[in-house]
Symmetry: C2
Subunit: 699 residues, 2 copies
Amino acid sequence: MMRTSKLWSGAALLAVMGALGLSSPAEADEGMWPFNHLPKAMLMKKYGFDASDAWVGHVRRSSIRLSVGCSGSFVSGTGLTLTNHHCAQDCLSRLSSPQHDLVQRGFYAQAASDEKVCPGYSIQQLGEITDVTARVQQATRGLAGEAFHQAFRAESARIEKECATSDQLSCEVVSLYHGGLYELYQYRRYQDVRLVFAPEIDAASFGGDPDNFNFPRYDVDFTFLRAYEGGKPVSTPDHLAWASTPLMPNDLSFVVGNPGTTQRLRTVAELEYLRDHELVEELIRLAQYRGFLNEYAERGAEARRFASEELFQVENGYKELRGEHESLLEPAFFQRLVAREQQLRARVNADPTWKAKYGGAWAAIAEAQAKAASMSDEMDWIEGGFRPLWAKTALFSWARTLVRGAAERPKKNEERLEEFSDARLPRVEQRLFAQRPLNPSFEISKLTFGLTALRERLGTDHPFVKKVLGKASPAELAAALIKGSSLEKVEERKRLWNGGQAAIAASKDRMLQLALAIDAEGRAVRSRFENEVESVLTKNSELVARARFAVYGMNSYPDATFSPRLSVGTVRGWRENGKWVPAFTTIGGAFDRATGRAPFALPKSWLDHQSQLALDTPLNLVTDNDIVGGNSGSPLINRQGELAGLIFDGNIHSLGGTYGFDIARNRAVAVDARAIKYTLDAIYGARRVTAELSANGKQ
Amino acid sequence: MMRTSKLWSGAALLAVMGALGLSSPAEADEGMWPFNHLPKAMLMKKYGFDASDAWVGHVRRSSIRLSVGCSGSFVSGTGLTLTNHHCAQDCLSRLSSPQHDLVQRGFYAQAASDEKVCPGYSIQQLGEITDVTARVQQATRGLAGEAFHQAFRAESARIEKECATSDQLSCEVVSLYHGGLYELYQYRRYQDVRLVFAPEIDAASFGGDPDNFNFPRYDVDFTFLRAYEGGKPVSTPDHLAWASTPLMPNDLSFVVGNPGTTQRLRTVAELEYLRDHELVEELIRLAQYRGFLNEYAERGAEARRFASEELFQVENGYKELRGEHESLLEPAFFQRLVAREQQLRARVNADPTWKAKYGGAWAAIAEAQAKAASMSDEMDWIEGGFRPLWAKTALFSWARTLVRGAAERPKKNEERLEEFSDARLPRVEQRLFAQRPLNPSFEISKLTFGLTALRERLGTDHPFVKKVLGKASPAELAAALIKGSSLEKVEERKRLWNGGQAAIAASKDRMLQLALAIDAEGRAVRSRFENEVESVLTKNSELVARARFAVYGMNSYPDATFSPRLSVGTVRGWRENGKWVPAFTTIGGAFDRATGRAPFALPKSWLDHQSQLALDTPLNLVTDNDIVGGNSGSPLINRQGELAGLIFDGNIHSLGGTYGFDIARNRAVAVDARAIKYTLDAIYGARRVTAELSANGKQ
């Protein structure tokens, strides 16, 4: 499955902090278009499609962003929301117990009152977009390094705070076109999200890791949630009608969703570093962790239950990075990226004014990149994002949030670490206070694994390693930290959050004490990174972006930023090793592929109904829509603006989409809307859900 | 520790089969010199050292090669042999039981009759070297592809058979200087090797994986074995006297041993493939397996005992490959290799005769390399070396040896797969019939891991995967194969070996049946590889070697071939990040570094004696001798030809030595001979061993 968008974690840090790009003029179906920059003329010319304000506004308001890094859409007037099963897996896990494993069994709320709150989930629906470029550029004019970074952060925090006037609104300054454009995105926010229906994971992820990112495919990777407010389903007048006519081969198809991150305009220096170092490092790390998790799951049923969600994330991320890495290793593909940069630089250098303004940006980026490389181990292993790489336990995330929140909240809004700005605090609190069952043995094993890796990567004699481990072995320390912490109790986290610095200082919680003891080291490495690397990259990436505007004009799309975008495409297969891969699979295909052994074992519900099913019902399909991770759960929409499918994956070639789009081979993979409704009816008997959909299908 | 030499396995296959190189004229202490091509003039000129025939003959006959891919030396007149603890670990494991874990406890044969046979071990002592270049080149003249390969193999088999006139002799045609020279190495072979003394692993590998390939270091990584024949210790008049004067900083030092493989003359095309694909692939694979093994060991004491030897191999190999990979990623280092090739090619192209003869070799190698890349997955996962990559169980190795042996032995010597030639059969039988205790649960887990990886790498729909797995899950099949096999019984293996094809065909052994069922697939991919890749590489690497002879003359050393070599060096530290790392550590340093927690826990024997020890006794030292994996266990020799130390590792920079030698940073790591004798005396009270050494020290 497409990885859900990584917000700020581990090796992706550089990617996210680095450069958000602007592509060269898009050809064919390439592109992830912001709603206020749609290629309306192209749509009319190429497809004879009129992207009217009414059509655009409707699909935009019907589509949502999920806090777990996914996309989705409203599919009824009362907040019913369609997304992927793999986007709801965190919710299913948290609501499970040894006796009721919702991941394995699936879930169906027979009555409205059975719908269960998904801990920590929220839904965002895009409202206004406001251009704030002038304000941001005014605030940072003439600044560099730390001053640039501070001013940029302070102004963003101010803008976001002015916008987020209530807990129901969340606001983000989005840097588009590499800082060529800054826009304020205001979202309507729903903090009470409940689970309505989910199939069994064996049907949702049939084929498991082996079939992941492959096609032909046979997955019902869907789940229904519902947005609530004040204990009641919200009213969603804008929602997608269920398609009255299905998508067929060669039909025009749209995807609305939140592609996470693309790197299509990274400079060659940055891409080489990614290819040769960062991706390799991350792959090796994930491979080892994967080996550990797989074997940990063999300890027993409970171990498997806890390990499997994490294993899914790891295997999915691993496969995704493999694909990305392989695409960068393909000489022809990489050469295209090199040639594009050379062309742009030649055009810039040919014009004395442009050369003076923009010509130095590439060298500056290469230099910052080299500096980033020299800092990357300490960034990953001491600071990380929400937690350094060795602390794979939620207990450390909570501890760090508590320690830092206590230190940051008393400061002025503009002076805080950006994740604690007023506009973002509601989300921080929601995460911190969400229920999450932990298995102490699993947490100890994960932390042991991580502390061992910390020692290996930074070295036994690194001062930070000595400070953390002392004379203890990784296993001893991990056990002491996990057993000596009470942070798994929501009430304790609330007490410490509300108690502020005094409560933190008085606490004897071992994990909290560790987070406190190493807080200064983390802040120091982060601040050095922000001032010496991030600010240089931001500033110079902006110059590259402006150079591109100057040379090619602005009729292009920005790199993905996990904000809502529209992608235009066509339903069609592709040629693989000389053979045509057709665009559709059927429910019968799933039965043909099933061996009865995981991950090729269909659940009992399917086997029980096999003889009564219409096996030629379309199940999955591919389109050439340009999507990446973060698009998981996106609606696949027909000309009529109806929901015709549900994006849940890309084929193996689509993984190169992070760096460039190849229309010959990149394909998005979706569940056909017909399969969703048919299985709800014929296998699951989920009439309460289908009734809600049907009503809308006829609207 | 330096990895023991990989003979023929996995991703190293290409390396071994590929090109054995010839370096440019060696500077300073660089070089691994064959005994019949020593740089005597350089030794006299630079060190004023007369490498007399007597001196050379003595150290040569005193040094040995161990069948487990290590080196060693005779240190008494009655076959006492010194090598590394990590070279004897396989023996220690095989002789262990849950009640007597010799790896943990160490071993000391109080009386001669307590010395225990190491299953499968043999010792080879180099005898005659004969130039057979003319014969080999005559046999292959004018041939290419399959015909070249067949003729080459047949002639080698003939030469080796003529030479190996008894079971006590083993013979190998060694291709030196990329086939510029073929030499026949005849070894005296001792098939009965027994364990005399080994310290506890906590002392031998103190610092474990974290300190591996690092220095300062504090390991007594030594073990004493003894060569037997006819149930009696063999007489070894040539053996190394224990050093009467120790090595000191800046002293001249020699290493005699069997460096496994270097790639110092691989073409740039080959090195790029290694750097970008092969090494990355292997690292990812090892990382995942490492994660699995580490967690498997948590199942309990028996699981840990079985997993730990394999874990040691995996962690060691992983770290070694990391170092190799990082050296190739260093731009300055790689650029040097590129420049060297460009220089040679420019010289070749400047001379019309040379150009006509050699000029096309590089392109031919690049083309064969590309073909090798396209075949590498099937080579690794279907054929492999002794076993394909998914079959990590000895049961499959045995099964394949039985199946193939039965098919090959009836053939004429020259027509067999090379590993079954008459000259090699004694070794095959020794390995096959050696006792090796297996833990069925561990074998099932390893095979499950491997079969899952097979499916992932070749793809669920690959015909070979379908043939192997059928509808079974990897876990099901692994359990059925392991439980359905009796090959763990030596008697059963003997019965099947002696019974030949009839016995194989009649057997119901599941593992044997699998090996039989997939034998044709393995042979097919191997034969395609040999005919289309290996023969092209052999032929064209020979052309590159001749070009180098033509351009630079022959005063240089060949790439390592796991045959005996002499390395010349100096005892000295190096500068690391501006700081000087001194050449020696002391026993006191080990106590300073100890935390009491593995892998920094010293054994009880050391702690009990701590107060009586002379803590300033030298423990480990570094020299700039040019060594690589396979040199493990090599004697470190002073001017007097005495044993002054025992090579057991290289520093982290030495790992780049596979591709090129950097005298500023590459260091060999050794146990000081004083530490060996001192700990035997003061900690272990192993008087029977030290008495034997002392007697010789005074000779």
